[in-house]
Amino acid sequence: MKYSVVEIKTNLERQFAQSADLTVRELTLNSDACVKALVLTMEGLVDKEQLAQSVINPLLPCEFGSMAPSAVAECVFRSVIASSDVTELETIDELITYLTSGFAVLAIDGAEKMYAVGVQGYAFRGVSEPESEVVQRGSREGFSEPLRVNMSLIRRRVKSPELVFEQMTVGSDSRTQLMLCYLQSKVSRELLATLKERLNSCDLETVLASGYLSDYLEDRQTSRLFSGVGISERPDTVCGKLTEGRIAVIVDGTPAVIIVPRLFVEEFQGVDDYSNRTYYAAFVRVIKYISFFTAVFLPGLYVALAQFHPEYFPTWLLISTSESLAKTPFPVTAEVLGITLVYEIMKEAGLRIPKSLGHAVSIVGALVIGESAVTAGIISSSTLMVVATAAICSYVTSSLYPPIMMLRFILIAVGGLTGLWGITLATAVILISMCSKTSLGVPYMSSLAPFSFKRMRDVFIRASWKQLARHTIRVQRFPETEVTDAGKN
């Protein structure tokens, strides 16, 4: 099909409704037939200097003589455009996708193809250390917003041709580009097919962040309390996961890269564990597990014991706790729930408040709500200490914060209503829910339940690298996994 530049221009102006950022530059080429050409760009997405050097400057002085339009286009593609990143386009839809991604599109009147030239030059945040995943001994690089930059960060670490980036588009309006990233020899084809099927089933109009896709990637009929979809902003973490047969999904415009499948034990593994000494890494792991249990259970247990079984407190603690609780007007359950709620409100405010006001809010929180409330006898000091300890512990495994927060509220309520018995039953139900969860067919609690002694070398402890290197880990080989191994395909 031959394109007319007038038709293309009219079509685009109609589709973009004469949007101010659509830039159309009309050129007349040096040929006997005065062939017309269009250079289409989106304002602010291209580097104008690069566009001039690689397209306009080489094109204008060129002599095409009596060449037919298709031959002119071929000549321009072969010998005029001074860029290594040129893609042939055949449809208007493709043109729009590339145009809105920052490419310059060159259309020649009467030619059968158009050319997208990679001259992107929009402003973006540079590669910097991710604030949510700070490490002591590791790379300081974190993902950024542009897709290509993120791809390069992974490619620089895995130089093997086995590493594949597969492009997809989601969002009917946003047409967000995403890349599936995996190692060919290690990934399970079945896992990959399932992931593609779920991404294709995404019927959202707009996808602005990777979190939008999480719901589509979760297995059906499994608990949504814990997430079976991992998120990381660190290229080294993603590369490590790829070697275990996992798949990364890089979404354009967000530094948070999705990693699937995700298991519970991974929430306690950090990049530093693999750089530190073995004994210290094991110690940190144990600390993380203790913190998780403290964050979830401490307030609930405190409420249950204080309300139903105070005899379980040691005498010295019983006296001080009873004295402290007796001075306050509220029942202990309401008190713990209230302080936890106030803490959550303060946390949300702290996240959004300008940094210059942060110190003032901290002082107000610590002095007014904390010390003054205790002095005034509104809340007891022991309750405040319990809630504060649980709050600090919940940040040790920050990726688990949402389930920790929800479980904490549930257990406080259950403990206040039914005591230790209720907490026991609630724990059983939570465990059943966690054990039934799968992440793309892989049991979420894998390594613990189904239990694997072999994998224990990287669960509660981190064995030495020599021991870890003895066995390769592939998610599809985990027991009771519903996907097949790469080698069996």
Partner: protein, 354 residues
């Protein structure tokens, strides 16, 4: 999703072993009064030997067909499906109530007198319905965590009771007669309730080995022996006058000023009953041919609840539902008699025809 997958037989037997071991937590001491500890050990040996014999038909079916008695019956005698489902459902409902009633009684009398026994049952059964819907695979995964917790509780309970043991009275003389031996043996046959569960659900597991049930029974025996030892020599005659001796043991156990081990006992017995009831509900839905479906689970949970309420308020119903002899009979039928019948029917139908 995971219901289609066959899971490790080791984990299944671990779950059954936990059920068998934990049940002593809820048992009243119905042992013959004048028998010595050594004589009671013989009773354990006798009881668990009976359990092993009862295990054999379902083990043969598993080894020969890699399936369970229900799968075999469906294949060989499709017409017998309904009566078989009815028998198994009755037996499982009875077993569920046999453990639920002492649990609520123990909880109500010893721990939380203000709580209504019916309310306890409703909440517990609601949680069991959720677990039963998830299937036996998920329940067995839960068993891994319960095993860790049971280990901790037992260490605390026995470790904390060591200081209370009256070593001067530790004698190992044999004292008892044949009638008392029989009485003790019946008492120690209680863990046999795991056999019908195995008979019904063993088709879902892979990599079965004969040593797994043997190990489960041996471990159960050791746990029974330990509990009996501490009840005899740490609690002594005082325990004879009380019910729920294991509860007393956990209350007496302490490490210096650290006490309150009965809270661990309560948690362990609650989780154990939760797992037993969930497994029994799984068995019921499997026997009626609708594994993991919510409707039959709710129906049978309703029946269990109704009978529990009736037993709470009507003593004759309670007496029937907690009768040890009836329990043994209703365990032997689905554990040994039915599997044996279908084992021979299966052999006959597979025999080469001349």
């Amino acid at each position: 999703m995971q219901a289609r997958i066959k899971f490790s037989s080791k984990r299944f037997l671990l779950a059954l072993m936990l059920c068998a071991c934990s049940i002593i937590l809820l048992q009243n001491d119905d042992l013959a009064a004048d028998t010595s500890f050594t004589f009671q050990l013989l009773g354990i040996l006798g009881g668990l030997s009976v359990c092993f014999v009862l295990f054999l038909p379902s083990l043969f079916i598993k080894i020969r067909t890699d399936g369970d008695v229900l799968q075999l019956a469906e294949r060989c005698t499709p017409r017998a499906k309904l009566p078989l489902a009815a028998v198994y459902s009755c037996c499982f409902v009875y077993t569920a109530l046999y453990f639920l009633l002492p649990y609520t009684e123990m909880f109500h009398t010893k721990y939380f007198p203000e709580a209504s026994p019916c309310l306890i049952t409703v909440v517990l059964l609601a949680c069991c319905v959720y677990a039963a819907c998830k299937g036996v695979n998920v329940i067995s995964r839960f068993g891994v965590f319960l095993f860790a917790f049971a280990l901790l509780t037992n260490i605390l309970m026995f470790g904390g009771s060591v200081s209370e043991v009256d070593w001067g009275h530790c004698t190992f003389a044999l004292r008892g007669d044949a009638g008392e031996f029989l009485q003790n043996t019946v008492y120690f046959v209680t863990p046999a309730f795991i056999i019908p569960i195995f008979a019904c659900l063993s088709g879902c597991v892979s990599n079965f080995r004969l040593r797994q049930p043997v190990f489960a029974l041996v471990f159960t025996g050791i746990k029974y022996a330990a509990v009996i030892f501490f009840i005899c020599f740490a609690l002594g005659d005082y325990s004879r006058r009380q019910g729920f001796q294991t509860f007393l043991l956990s209350r007496v156990a302490h490490f210096s000023t650290f006490a309150g081990i009965e809270s661990f006992y309560l948690a362990l017995s609650t989780m154990a009953v939760f797992m037993i009831l969930s497994l029994l509900l799984c068995c019921i839905t499997k026997s009626v041919g609708r594994s993991g479906e919510l409707r039959p689970i709710i129906l049978f949970t309703g029946i269990i609840l109704a009978l529990d309420v009736a037993a709470t308020y009507l003593d004759p119903v309670r007496e029937v539902l907690t009768n040890p002899l009836l329990f043994v009979v209703l365990t032997v039928i689905p554990a040994a008699v039915i599997p044996m019948i279908w084992y021979f029917i299966g052999r006959k139908s597979n025999a080469p025809k001349n």
